[in-house]
């Protein structure tokens, strides 16, 4: 489907949940692209030139123009390639809800996970955040249609949350995090299972085992020592 002048490059990092979002969106839409994994300990010229302000991944480079910040990238991908696998809802209020919960994932869920790894957050706080996400499923998703916020197919919010299908078990396996049980958060549990079984997600996300090894190797960094 992608024509020769599409010229899409992704500056990525396989373990980054933000990078996974961009990769997943590209795969869901079948967009041919070049994946350039980055060494974040020794940042490349292309990374520093394409994201001089934040110097972070992911960066999407389309026809020579860079776009940074995972949510902005996924918005862009959805706007430029609207035909296949549309991600943002058509309704303005629902779009606001998808954005609100994306912001919650970054501000509350990820922040809590990072602090947990440093020993600055309790497991209870993490469970509370999961319960709030469970509430989002009740509000926004239709259980009869499917496990995703988008029903049977992944939508914007599903892409934003998907990386946690591996990050949460990764942290659980290495740092003793106790995830929310199926009884506590059934829809969230089903969502994560559905992500792990999804063909595009299998390519975009690392395995839990690989992520565990990564976390062990970098545990000093994550423990804040």
């Amino acid at each position: 489907m992608a024509s020769s002048d599409q010229d899409v490059t992704l500056l990525s990092s396989w373990a980054s949940p933000f990078s996974m979002r961009a990769k997943l969106a590209l795969l869901l839409k079948g967009i041919e692209h070049e994946d350039l994994p980055q060494d974040l300990g020794n940042k490349s010229k292309i990374l520093l030139e394409s994201n001089p302000v934040h110097k972070k991944v992911p960066v999407l480079i389309h026809k020579g123009k860079p776009i940074a910040e995972s949510a902005i990238i996924v918005h862009y991908i959805d706007e430029v390639w609207p035909g296949t696998s549309p991600l943002l809802p058509k309704d303005a209020f629902l779009r606001a809800e998808h954005r609100f919960w994306t912001d919650f994932i970054d501000k509350k869920l990820l922040d809590c996970l990072m602090r947990f790894m440093r020993g600055d957050a309790k497991n209870e706080e993490f469970i509370e955040n999961c319960e709030l996400l469970e509430g989002a499923f009740t509000k926004l998703g239709n259980e009869e249609e499917g496990p995703f916020f988008g029903g049977v197919r992944m939508s914007f919010l599903d892409v934003m949350l998907a990386p946690y299908a591996v990050w949460i078990p990764g942290i659980a396996g290495v740092m003793g995090l106790k995830p929310a049980s199926q009884e506590q958060c059934p829809r969230l549990h089903n969502f994560f299972q559905a992500v792990l079984a999804h063909p595009a997600a299998k390519l975009a996300l690392p395995t839990v085992e690989a992520l565990k090894e990564f976390l062990v190797a970098r545990s000093a960094v994550y423990r804040g020592k």
Partner: protein, 228 residues
């Protein structure tokens, strides 16, 4: 222009709240305004924003929308004309979103740390970070809209609305955090931008006086130090 009932829950000095006012006023949308007492939040606010209990909240036809940039995006979708804020071109749209996000991550963050700094080291770092952020904005203006007053070119766009509220807080940053805004020799584009924003009637409508904001910044600081 009516499209149903529009209500804004906010606080007079909030930069996030100002974004919502600016978006609605630029588009000429009439709305009801409810000033919240942040130390005694209304039941309506707590019900509209149960997760954060924060302002601003936009309530449109009874449905709440939270988080200032999400609200502005929503306003732009529901009332695209007049004064469309997000560019049609996807790349230009992404650029506008990027600089709005930069406002939160780098400008607001540094300003907030500046006001709440408890040590000279913290204050100095926050001050340097704020200066860096303003330099980046100055460069960005020149790259995105060279020779034009706004990020949106001849008129304010999403990025301009996201960043404009900081202007009335600079006096507060100076008074409370000792931050001296670099002059127009150092930040020519930013100063031109500030003057252009201040000349927009819709912006003047809800912008509080910088002196009052500076007094309020003192209050925030006292509370922050008190709890340190």
């Amino acid at each position: 222009m009516s499209k149903g009932s529009v209500k804004v829950l906010s606080f007079w000095s909030s930069m996030f709240g100002l974004r919502v006012h600016y978006a609605l006023d630029l588009k000429g949308v009439s709305y009801e305004y409810q000033e919240e007492n942040l130390f005694n939040k209304s039941k309506e606010l707590l019900e509209a924003n149960p997760i954060y209990a924060k302002i601003p909240v936009l309530i449109h036809n009874g449905k709440p929308i939270c988080e200032s940039l999400i609200i502005v995006d929503y306003i732009d979708s529901v009332w695209p004309n007049p004064h469309k804020l997000l560019p049609e071109d996807p790349y230009k749209k992404a650029v506008a979103r990027f600089w709005a996000d930069f406002g939160d991550k780098k400008v607001f963050d540094a300003g907030s740390r500046l006001i709440r700094a408890t040590t000279e080291e913290e204050r100095k770092k926050a001050s340097e970070d704020l200066k860096w952020a303003l330099m980046k904005l100055d460069e960005a203006l020149d790259t995105i809209a060279p020779g034009k007053p706004f990020f949106g070119g001849d008129s304010m766009n999403f990025a301009d609305v996201a960043l404009a509220p900081f202007i009335c807080w600079f006096k507060g940053y100076q008074k409370v955090g000792g931050f001296v805004l670099p002059g127009s020799e150092e930040l020519p584009n930013l100063h031109k931008w500030v003057n252009a924003v201040k000349s927009v009637e819709a912006i003047r409508k809800s912008t509080p006086s910088p002196d009052k904001v500076a007094e309020f910044a003192e209050v925030i600081r006292k509370r922050a130090i008190g709890s340190a």
